[in-house]
Amino acid sequence: MLLVPLLLGGCAPAFGPLVREKCQNDGCTKEQQYVAEAYAYRVKLTTENPDGTFSVNYAILPNTEVARIVKNRLDDLKVVLDPKNLDWAPFIEEFGLRSELERQEQIFRALYARLRLVDNHNNFKEYMGERSSYMPSDHYRGYDASRVFVEDVFEAYPFSSDRIENARASGMLKEIERFVWSARMELGRKEPDPADPDDPNKFIWRPEEVGIEFISYKVMDTPNPRDNYVDYVEGTRLVMTKDGPKRESKPALKLFVPNGGYSAVLVIDKDKEGEIGFLLPDFVDRVSRVTSAQGLVTDSVLSRLFQRTEEEKRVKPNAPPPIVVEIAPVGKNKVDVWEYSANGWTVPFRYKTERADNYTVSAKIKGDDQVAHDPTSPNQQIEYFRKMWNGNGSVYENFYPQPPYDQSNIVRVSVSDKRVMVVTNTGDEITGYVTPGTNKFIKDNPYSVEYTESETRWLLMDEDSDGKYEKRRQVAR
């Protein structure tokens, strides 16, 4: 798994060899190629100082590139800290490295949030029309540590609009819409079963409850505006506590709708209060004009607002059960898989129509599932007839055959829908129908019934033919 990044890393063309290759293609000797490479580093990655020395030109690398590498490290940590990672998890546990690596993860996350902040603020200024599109983007897109590691990020990187702030200051920004969207999902998220997180077929469901309060504002210089379109929206996540919903302290969503029909600018912070990155926007997008906050209740917005953190995704396996040795000689112990009921089990739903004819029929020959079975034998015996009900729960009713169809003298049985044809070894061909109710082919009551309820298939058994199913068990679907 870790060799792959090594190889992929090598797949990208490298700067130094590229320069040498170009020089070689131009006729340079090997020595000249290395000289060209040396000067290439100097010209691309340094700037000359007045005293003739050279300093590193950090801005040559776009801020986004640095952010990408930090994201790569976070992805590496995600892999390494995954308790299911068979290479790393035992190593991390043995040497107690989890807490220090998780701390590094926090630091890298905080760093990533700052790097993204710088880029997102640049995008915001551009989308809000506050920066000339003629200005070369590398003028402000290059990495600058003094901009990334500012102490007051809110002063340095305000995600606000002069128009809205001026209107707020002059009292013209009026609330015109307020609503809460919330949802409780019992099957909120599917997670690996901590008892065995490696098995994708073992999982648990955790409920989720999310909510957000939207408040929309309009700049109003008259009490009777021409339309009710919003100019600015704030969305604040609701945290569901045992005492009811509680608002986060600051909005996680802001929508700026410009005057004059341009695209609106949507700013979303995915991080919840208390998490690293809270209040530092993660997404800044242009969106088509929105006239009401209700238009923001979309999958793409909600999925960004309510993301799962890495910690939430990281399911630590439970301690495995103690290792034992258990020896089970065949026949020594009887394992009873049945559940018993004195009153009898029933199928818990209706599956027959009023005329009770919504079934087809099949027949089972005794021993036909054995390797030694001879299908040409003239002494075959019908084990049971089955009614397969077309309706709820895929119900099967299994009936013992009535005499004389229960004898070992059958040459052939064929069934089509409800029609049965039996050939005996005396040459008789008997045909007929398995009709609803009493019938010549089958006993009156099924000796067993199978049905599916939700995700479980059940088998009910009536062993004493009293019409009550005194025991049941689950069977494979």
Binding site: C23, Y34, A36
Partner: protein, 507 residues
């Protein structure tokens, strides 16, 4: 195996290498040293080479074996010592009590039982005096290794802060105060944490905080030392111990101690740069080491820099020194080797000095450098960029001739630099290729060659080895190799290396 890719830093011994700077007192030698081991005379490079070859051959079967089985940890004799305030348990892996369960909590044997020593060559008892001599010898090596590292790295924080404060436009005083302040957004971390500027380097940081094992590595017999990153565990093999003694400086141990210093090589930052090259500063540059710089794979980049900037031509020098090899018996010009090794000492001293600025640059903004590594596809970019900032190349017959060529061709290399910048890195936009088909073919080939070169450097194998490997697998072009998938490729390479080693031993 994969685990080792990112959690260990190791120094491997496919090649010969040596050092000298005078760390070892004339003390009793550990019992597993071959008879007659002796340090070479100062400045006697060829003698050093010869002694190393003799020592390596004398120990190759007993102390490093391809057939070795895994040992179990936990019952070996140990001592606990404190170095510069850092406690460490020193475990002597191949030394157990006569009865393996007689080990006491203090690492001694109950009832005065003898100590049993196991190597790949056999097993014998040693006296308590012999054991204590080994302990004291190890003690000297630890202290020496810490000093080697500390002498180079001790001013790192001061220098890195100076670079970073200048880049931020702050005075050092202002910058230091700022570094110590908590991030207002995350009170659990400071700006120093966020910027990954290491704290003041102390001697104790180089001491493995958990265990130092004096033991072999049966799975990797060529390994001399290995450090498991972040764990405070270092292995220092007996072969390395003898080798370091020969060179009179615990170079291997010093190398591993850099890996074990979490402030310099902690995960995950270490995943973004070449930890081996960085840990080879300063050990490959120690005065009096006449062999590493010639051959060790970790010094590959240093050799290139010395050639480009200081004009020392290794290829030519090698040709002049090694006349021929008679099936492993080399006819060499000892005088020339001595002479060139002394010349190299000048280059190494300059490099060592320059690397103080290089490392200060790196640690002033390490995350940025890892991003640049990715862009340039070069995990050692800081060395190349900073050397280009500090020195003029000289390899075209001197500074003047080289500078003249560079000025004459300035417009060309500027264009090549611009083009290479656009094309390099995993995010390069290469949609502007003129002839898509031809470019795609070239790109595939280039990519394959790059991966091969990466593999070569990773496994420390030569061009000739690669050619043999390709011939062995009847692979006509490197591109073909990469249709195999990483697992098959890795397995094939490791099998090939193992079989080559076996073959060499048979010869």
């Amino acid at each position: 195996m994969n685990l080792h890719k990112k959690i260990t830093g190791l120094i491997s011994a496919f090649l010969f290498f040596v050092f000298v700077s005078g760390s070892y007192a004339q003390e009793a030698l550990p019992h597993f040293f071959p008879e007659g081991v002796r340090k070479s005379s100062p400045k006697a490079a060829a003698e050093q080479w010869e002694e190393w070859a003799r020592h390596a051959n004398a120990t190759v079967n007993n102390l490093a074996s391809e057939q070795g089985r895994s040992f179990l940890i936990g019952k070996s004799r140990f001592v606990e010592r404190t170095y510069f305030g850092q406690k460490v348990r020193i475990v002597f892996d191949q030394h157990v009590c006569e009865n393996i369960n007689s080990l006491t909590n203090s690492g001694t044997c109950k009832n005065g039982e003898r100590t049993r020593y196991t190597s790949f060559g056999g097993q014998y008892f040693i006296t308590e005096k012999q054991f204590q001599e080994l302990v004291e010898f190890t003690d000297g090596a630890i202290k020496g290794a810490v000093e080697v590292d500390y002498a180079f790295w001790s001013n790192l924080e001061r220098d890195a802060v100076a670079v970073a404060s200048k880049a931020d436009g702050k005075t050092e005083k202002e910058f230091r105060e700022y570094l110590g302040r908590k991030d207002p957004l995350n009170s659990s971390m400071t700006f120093r944490d966020l910027r990954h500027i290491p704290p003041v380097v102390e001697r104790k940081d180089f001491v493995p905080f958990r265990e130092l094992h004096i033991g072999v590595a049966p799975e990797f017999p060529s390994v001399l030392g290995v450090a498991w990153l972040n764990t405070g565990i270092v292995y220092y093999t007996p072969v390395a111990m003898i080798r370091d003694y020969l060179m009179d400086t615990p170079v291997v141990l010093a190398h591993e101690f850099v890996h074990t210093n979490k402030n310099l090589q902690g995960m995950p930052l270490v995943w973004g740069f070449d930890a081996e090259t960085m840990a080879s500063v300063p050990d490959m540059l120690v005065t009096g080491d006449y062999l590493d710089m010639w051959n060790h794979s970790y010094a590959t980049n240093f050799r290139e820099l010395i050639w480009v900037y200081f004009r020392f031509d290794f290829d030519q020098a090698r040709k002049e020194v090694v006349k021929t090899s008679l099936m492993g018996n080399m006819r060499v010009d000892r005088a020339k080797f001595d002479e060139y090794s002394q010349k190299l000492e000048v280059a190494k001293a300059e490099l060592r000095n320059a690397f103080k600025r290089v490392t200060a640059e790196f640690y002033s903004t390490p995350v940025w450098w890892t991003a640049l590594n990715d862009k340039l596809v070069d995990d050692n970019s800081v060395f190349r960029v900073m050397m280009a900032a500090m020195y003029n190349p000289t390899l075209l017959g001197g500074e003047e001739a080289t500078t003249k060529w560079a000025l004459t061709n300035e417009y060309k290399w500027k264009r090549w630099a611009d083009e290479a910048w656009r094309e390099s890195g995993s995010t390069a936009n290469d949609s502007d290729a003129g002839n898509a088909a031809v470019t795609e073919e070239n790109r595939e080939r280039r990519t394959a060659l790059l991966v091969l070169s990466h593999i070569q450097s990773h496994y420390g194998i030569s061009d000739e080895d690669v050619s043999r490997f390709l011939r062995f697998h009847k692979v006509s072009s490197p591109e073909e190799l990469f249709t195999w998938g990483p697992d098959k490729l890795k397995r094939a390479i490791e099998d090939f290396i193992a079989s080559e080693r076996r073959e060499r031993r048979v010869q």
